[in-house]
Symmetry: C5
Subunit: 369 residues, 5 copies
């Protein structure tokens, strides 16, 4: 590739984490609810505890299962597990919060399809969180919410998330989320995760715009591969958001004690954001498809350029060479050979012919553009 | 590009405003209903006030929040905010009209997806208004309607709109909209916005027709890029009108005090217009897709033309040059060289061969077309 | 283009009337129900009046609004307006038959999307009538039916229609339509309009079959443009029939006094014809899409033929010319030049080489096909 | 085309009967229920009569309308009309079995879309029967069933069908169909018709497999046309089976005296077969679409091969010819010309250059494959 | 093909069993419920019998029909038939378990479309089991479950399955499936079959990734055929899983005594897995479609490379040969020929010209990349 095309390349590395669709499934035929062992052993648990309408607020790391809170209905608790590597802890959480084994398996055996399921008085919501990492790659991970009366438990696939602004709002005793029940907290988490799609989609939009000039100026197969990866990324995002929209919709429609009417109104807003994201993704996909045809056109035009050069060179010089060949013949009786002005006249003929050819090509628009 | 192709180019610049799908979203994790600050600070408010069935009519600029009207049920009021840059004013309006924070956020954090939501005794309708600017570019902006008993509040993204004919009808004391309640006024606004799609779609239709001759005569990558932009514009329009249709449909179906049966009947008409616009857009999209194949065919035919010229030139002169080469050899024993009529005979042979080639190409239809 | 391809061209000119999707919409923001002024001022009104079960039958031109009939329930009346240019007459008709302003606007502001709407005791049915004109172009126009108790009013966009056979049946006092109520008359009109699609679709089928041989034998861009126009025509027809099917379906499903159970049974038949037409149109569209790939293949094969000629000519003569060049060199020490049989031997070598090349190409299947 | 490609060609001629989508519709505007006259006058009627649970069985040709049976409820009768050319007989049958005129028109004015309609105590089922003719072409015809209490009347478009195995089972007094009511007989006919699609679909599957090797080895336009015809055939079959599935589904869902619960259970089986056929057809269609891209790839590779030969020949000999040209120049002062070993050295240089080029092409993988 | 491309080829042979869509259907017109004879006569029956909540457990081969168990409600029995070749045994099983003839036919006349049907107090579930054979080919077979009170009968098309882990769990007296009723056993079988899709889909994912590098480096038609086969395999898998999802959904929705609420909850989990598999399959299909365009781009670029070599060689040497030709002419009056430095000057001109051409091509980016 030429150095020029390298400069055109956007520095954004838009790649989902490798092996993104490899499910960490339990062995075939294993018992239902069996939890998969993760390679990475990281696992931290953090509890935010507050009483709505009061100043009571507590944010602490849970080091061992024994430190898990007893459940009482006065406070709202958010237990946030980051990393799924420590099965005993997770099982202890499952026991303390009386989580159904299948729900716990959905949290651990990632990735699951985003969904909202009701397990008695708990709601299980499987979400997919995406963010741009510092190297501009797209990181995706599953966030599982368990919403009960007075608590929300979240299981994150990996350490690190985009929920810090929410945590800051929780620390502010005047914020609305601090003065609401667990349903509103769950809404706030879901809302933040869904809003997190916008910067990623914007980055893809920038990348597609940069691709438009690249497919025209540097129609290499590499460019097309980049375009294809972008399309695959869009397919992947759509595959994440689509079921998320359905999940939020079922939260809105199905009555459950943990979701108040006010929370439902706010969820409708999140639902709109999901649909809007899907619209934009769909639009980008159509734009990418259009870029493929521009790419193929650029390739064809490039071939055409190569062929034009060949045709012009050959069409001009082949007749001239023929004329030179004529007077290179060794016949004894070639009167022109002795004619005094023959040589200049031949040159004149050659110049005339090549000028004619050049005029023909210029009229065709092949040269002089 | 040749000058000829430049003349073919339609002067219509069909481009949606740049960055059209970049949502001015609040920071991730911000509290629900938080309003986004706009870069452009323009914000004007105009109030049209009238009492149906009477001559009472008032049209005035609202300079400060204090001038906002008290609500009473005898009059119909249309408060029109143009430009979303002045958050304090907008918040004052929100307070006076008791607008739900999420509804206000939908009006300010543009673009939202077109929709109709019910907030208690108010209806929020998000519309998308398009028009051809003077430079023939397509301008799109969000218009948010809040319909209540006795008033309609509209929030426009930018100054300038296509509602002037409606304002003229409002000034006419005999017009129907002047003698009806706020629901009919809302219908009239929605109807005008939907009708505003027709001239834009017509302009795109003209542009596609001009593209048809361009793809045949000037199949440059630039032409294809133009075609693609037109397709993207159609996708964008469809993305605006599709949800608008659903929004109007939900206004028709869901009972609400602000929408009388008569207004419903008129909304059915608007609904039909939405569907018709979508039909035409869909048809244009299929035509654009057809143009891509015509374009690729024109490119292939152009390559073919280049190759034909090369083939004809090479096929005619390469054998002749070979013959000349033969008699340029320096063998001592080449009896022809001494033969008196050899040279004219060689010329005869050459003319015969090239005539044969020309006849062959003519029969193939490659020349003499 | 070669003369041969011209003969292949079907004489059928399959083009919808120009500007077919340009709606004669009222100015943006005009009042609801405002009627658009048409450029063509033609407007004729004909009344067919009969009493079912009796010999009473009357068919007369209505020259002025005053001649419009009083409505009574004993007779069935069909008032047929052809041409929408005379707004006063149309408004008089609207007044006499108490037509809702929006319904009248749907009749005049053509084209509307085909639909069936209920306005009190009247049914508005918007249909789209197509026919092959004498020059084999496809003419399309809107026919609007207003069905009430004892009358059917039809508004046709332009003079001339395909309803004459129905008029003949009405003149026959033993025919079923003559002895039935207005609902059956409306069914008969709708049925005739829907049956009118068959000859048009058949003509398109003939055209597509003729295109199949053309894309193979004459893959010019012109042929592709013709193919594309045919596809656009199919899209247009589908866009007409699809909503018509829905309209007829809603007539069948929704109870209304003007539609008896027997008429419903007959409408089911029309409904089936609509679906069948859509099926055939869909099939033709898939066939057209297939033809595009055949076309592209024919173009590629033609390029291949050009390149084969070039390759064969060049591959045979370039080596021979090289050999001739060798013995045209002027070295003093070239023993072959003095050898007596050198010249014939060189010829032998050349014949051998070119025979070898020819054999190679023949084995490849490039020549001697 | 080369003889080799001819051998690859499958001997199966997969073509639907010509003019397959040309409906024998009555003239536009003709009265409802008007029967179309068929060109072919063949028409035979055969009656199979039996009493379930007894040995009574009668199979006879009906030569004239007078021989049509009186209806009584003890026996089950199957009246099978083959050929629709004899309208008086068909009208007599319609009269005797009290068939609704629209139902009779559906039986005669073929092809109708497959469907199931209820006319009072009769059910009309329109089916489409396909079979491979002896010349391996696909024959399609409409079979219309009229199911009433104690009888089934079938109208076949043409003589000859695939129902003989069923007739054999009817002759066997122990078979289930012989001992059941008319609903089961109707099921047996429908089941046989649906099962008749399997051999046709299998033949198409064989043909597509044979096409896979042909598109790779003989990418002629003829092959693509064959592929397209196969796709069209699949579209046509889908168009037949799709509505048939809906028809059978409506038979299963809608209660009717002629269809017992047991028959319904059996129809569910037929319904499954319809869906399975549609699945396979859809799969074949996707395979065909894939073959088009293989075809285009094969065409491109073939062009590439042609161009490689040209490039190799030209690249090797053009430089050599240039060298020969150099020493063919007639300058007086060219010291090399007098050098003793010049001529062999030039040969050495030429061999070196051409070896270099060959090595270059070999490294590129263009030769020596 | 070059040896290098062979190494790139993934060793995974991804092919469904040959003739995968050839249904072993009974002869057309045969009686309903007629069982098809299979060519392979293998047929083994194994009974696992246990009493939930006790240690009672029995696993034995059933050699003859007489050894089939009497049904009683205390125990749960799983009768597993592998191979459908022995019709008498199967009919004996059908008799003992009172299986409806149509249900038994669905088990034997494979392949049926996956489905769940209720036959009185039994449920028939048709599943499709896939697995990677040792040679990495994809094996697919039908597994039919008959679920009744106290027993599950499974019919497998061929010996060998993926259910061994489940059998191990059954042998463990503490496992949940050992202590539950037949509904849970059926769930466990279905769950294991659905989980068996993951490794197959993963293998296809690996294959598609290996194909991405192959289409770029070795765009041979063979590679495209491999890509197409992979797409067909995905279509086939989707065709299996899609109806399976519907079948499981109908098990969840429709009340039946054999399916307890707890089993329903677990089936919901299986349902999610089906949807997830379909999502991944759909994503792989889109990726494959993207690879086709990369492939075509690679082919076009390869052609372009060939043409560039030709153009460069021809453009450089044709002008030089022309110059050599000029001075090979035999005119008497060519003053240059006598000029002392003519020959070196000509060489200089030639070097200049070819350097110019090389610079031109280098600037175009055709060489020196």
């Amino acid at each position: 590739m030429s150095p020029k095309s390298k400069k055109n390349r956007s520095p954004v590395k838009l790649k989902m984490r490798h092996r993104r669709f490899r499910k960490k499934h339990a062995a075939i035929g294993s018992r239902p609810g069996e939890l998969v062992k993760h390679a990475i052993k990281d696992c931290s648990a953090r509890l935010i505890e507050f009483a709505p309408g009061t100043d009571e607020y507590n944010n602490r790391e849970i080091a061992e299962a024994a430190a898990l809170p007893e459940l009482d209905s006065d406070r709202v608790r958010w237990l946030d597990i980051q990393g799924l590597g420590d099965l005993p802890t997770i099982e202890a959480v499952g026991k303390r919060f009386a989580i159904h084994p299948l729900a716990l398996a959905d949290a651990v055996n990632v990735p699951q399809r985003p969904k909202a399921d009701i397990y008695g008085d708990q709601i299980l919501v499987v979400m997919r969180m995406v963010r741009l990492a510092e190297d501009q790659s797209v990181q995706a991970e599953q966030v599982t919410l368990l919403i009960g009366k007075g608590y929300v438990v979240t299981f994150q696939e990996k350490p690190g998330d985009i929920l810090d602004p929410l945590r800051k709002r929780l620390a502010d005793s005047t914020s609305r989320v601090r003065n609401s029940q667990s349903g509103f907290l769950a809404y706030a988490i879901i809302d933040t995760i869904v809003d997190g799609y916008y910067p990623v989609i914007d980055a893809i939009g920038d990348h597609i715009e940069s691709l438009e000039s690249r497919v025209m100026n540097d129609p290499s197969t590499e460019t097309l591969v980049d375009l294809n990866h972008t399309k695959n990324l869009l397919v992947d995002l759509r595959r994440s958001i689509g079921p998320q929209r359905e999940a939020i919709n079922s939260l809105i429609r199905e009555p459950h004690q943990a979701i108040s009417d006010d929370v439902r109104l706010h969820l409708r807003d999140v639902y709109d954001h999901c649909i809007q994201s899907l619209d934009v993704i769909e639009m980008y996909r159509e734009m990418s498809t259009g870029l493929v045809s521009i790419y193929l056109s650029a390739v064809a035009n490039r071939s055409n350029d190569v062929m034009k050069v060949l045709t012009i060179m050959a069409s001009i010089f082949i007749p001239l060479t023929f004329i030179a060949g004529i007077y290179g013949m060794n016949f004894e009786h070639m009167p022109e050979l002795k004619f005094r002005w023959a040589y200049p006249l031949v040159w004149l003929a050659m110049v005339t012919i090549s000028s004619g050819m050049l005029a023909f090509f210029w009229k065709k628009g092949w040269i002089g553009k």
